[in-house]
């Protein structure tokens, strides 16, 4: 029953976010601030993780190619498919659920604990629109971050492959171009837009409706990370079935 009530509250929250918009000049500055905080400040960790994940995928594929009949260009092919289909959109989103999600929950939760949200409401401000809407809009840029993760992930795979001497650069690049389906990139971007919405709203929900004090802000951040990850994993399954199944 509690889960149903939470889903209901979440739906009501999302509806309220789009009501009574804040004045555009103020909203514009809030959106730019959130782009800086949520996207730009996350690029370092996204690039770092993607480059190593791409490298690991290439090495593991190469080490499992024991049959001499299987062409070496499979390393590039497997790296491309793994990075574009799963690692860039889904793995990065789980990382973002931790980094960005906990930031969102703790910042909104702290505002709740210190009565700053009450202060907004007393002034007649739609606090959900003021706090959550800029985060949703900022996260619309998330597919660009995923695109960079794709590029850097494949680059990491190429570096690991060539530096490790598993195959030549030409074979890896040939594998990258093998049976390329452009829709796979579209599929990845569709997933990343959905995940972006989840990363912006689920942690906001946990922060906005939290009760208690400073200790509970930490607990809410942990709960928020768990639920954001669970929702991403479930939606990943559903979207994959719908778009590729």
């Amino acid at each position: 029953m509690n889960y149903l009530a939470s889903i209901g509250s979440y739906s009501i929250m999302v509806r309220e976010v789009f009501k009574k918009p804040t004045k555009w000049p103020i909203m514009k500055s809030l959106i730019l601030k959130e782009i800086d905080e949520l996207i730009y400040n996350s690029m370092g960790i996204i690039i770092f993780i993607s480059i190593f994940i791409g490298g690991v995928v290439a090495i593991q594929t190469a080490l499992n190619l024991t049959n001499p009949l299987i062409p070496k260009n499979l390393i590039g092919f497997a790296t491309r498919q793994s990075v574009i289909l799963e690692f860039a959109p889904t793995f990065t989103s789980i990382i973002m659920a931790g980094k960005v999600g906990s930031y969102i929950t703790s910042s909104i939760g702290t505002m709740r604990v210190t009565e700053q949200i009450d202060a907004l409401e007393v002034m007649g401000v739609n606090s959900l629109n003021y706090l959550v809407f800029p985060k949703i809009i900022a996260m619309l840029l998330y597919p660009f971050a995923v695109a960079i993760a794709m590029y850097v992930g494949i680059l990491g795979g190429w570096i690991a492959n060539v530096a490790g001497g598993y195959s030549s650069s030409a074979e890896f690049v040939e594998g990258l171009q093998l049976d390329f389906t452009p829709f796979h990139v579209t599929y990845s971007f569709i997933k990343s837009v959905v995940f972006a919405f989840v990363i912006a709203t689920v942690p906001s929900f946990h922060g906005y409706y939290m009760k208690g004090g400073a200790l509970d802000v930490g607990k809410a951040s942990t709960t928020s990370f768990v639920w954001t990850s669970v929702v991403i994993i479930i939606l990943n399954f559903i979207l994959t079935q719908l778009l590729l199944g």
Binding site: K20, T22, K23, P25, I26, T110, T114, E115, Q116, D118, A119, E121, V122, M123, G124, V125
Partner: protein, 255 residues
């Protein structure tokens, strides 16, 4: 003026407010006092519209809050200023940003006009050189003064203060009390203060409402509170030896 009629509020099976009826008068500092758990904060949140009562009405100069539409309720809230117990200043904004925030949100004033108004109210609360400081960089007393400045910047008709003296030293507490009373009289607004502080009761309690277990047990002024025989009030207000002696002296002086 705010008229409260038969106000009830429950949370689950707990009946917190049990039929409160009272009037908060314009141009006066109205105090709500009572022990912890007596329903003061819930009462104030109902007055602010942050909680909806289960029964009864709150009327703001002819406007019954529960009968207003959502947009009318938001408009009414813009006539309210609130000083929260912990000040509730926005951490990411400077003192000036905090005070300017309501003006930016709800007025079409030019930047210069807003700046003039912000300078005026910060000057009014005796904060002349803290414009560019963040809330984390100023003292508790200064935070309260910024909160008061933010509350009055939109020229409210109603000012609410939730324990404005909590965590302050006695000297600063008296300064804040006096400031609230001066602003109330200067702008002829209806001020409601939720407090535990007996100094505030004696200093600025032009009208006092004493709550006990969600019921209005007593109401009167700070002059009348010396003479009352209500046991619940005397047990609460004169619980310290100091105040018992003050009361005794007052009664002897009058006799």
């Amino acid at each position: 003026m705010i008229e409260v009629e038969n106000l009830h509020k429950s949370f689950g099976g707990t009946h917190v407010l049990k039929g409160i009826t009272t009037v908060f008068e314009k141009g006066k500092t109205n105090l709500i006092i009572g022990q912890s758990g007596s329903g003061k904060t819930v009462f104030m949140k109902c007055l602010l519209g942050l909680l909806l009562p289960d029964e009864g009405s709150i009327c703001y100069e002819g406007r019954i809050y529960s009968q207003l539409s959502g947009s009318e309720q938001r408009d009414l809230r813009q006539e309210m200023g609130m000083v929260f117990q912990g000040s509730a200043l926005f951490d990411s904004m400077t003192v000036e940003g905090n005070v300017m925030f309501p003006l930016e949100m709800f007025t079409k004033q030019s930047k210069a006009e807003m700046q003039e108004r912000v300078d005026f109210v910060l000057n009014r609360v005796n904060l002349v050189d803290a414009h560019h400081k963040l809330p984390a960089e100023i003292s508790g007393g200064m935070k309260k003064r910024v909160a008061i400045a933010r509350a009055i910047v939109m020229k409210p008709k109603y000012l609410f203060c939730d324990e404005p003296n909590s965590g302050l030293d006695p000297k600063t507490a008296i300064l804040i009390d006096n400031l609230i009373q001066e602003i109330t009289q200067e702008y002829n607004i209806t001020t409601v203060v939720n407090t535990h502080d007996m100094n505030s009761v004696m200093e600025i309690g032009e009208k006092i409402i004493f709550l006990k277990d969600g019921i209005k047990e007593w109401e009167g002024s700070n002059k009348e509170i010396f003479r009352t025989d209500n046991e619940a009030v005397t047990n609460f207000v004169y619980s310290s030896d100091l105040f018992k002696k003050v009361r005794q002296m007052y009664i002897e002086e009058r006799a």
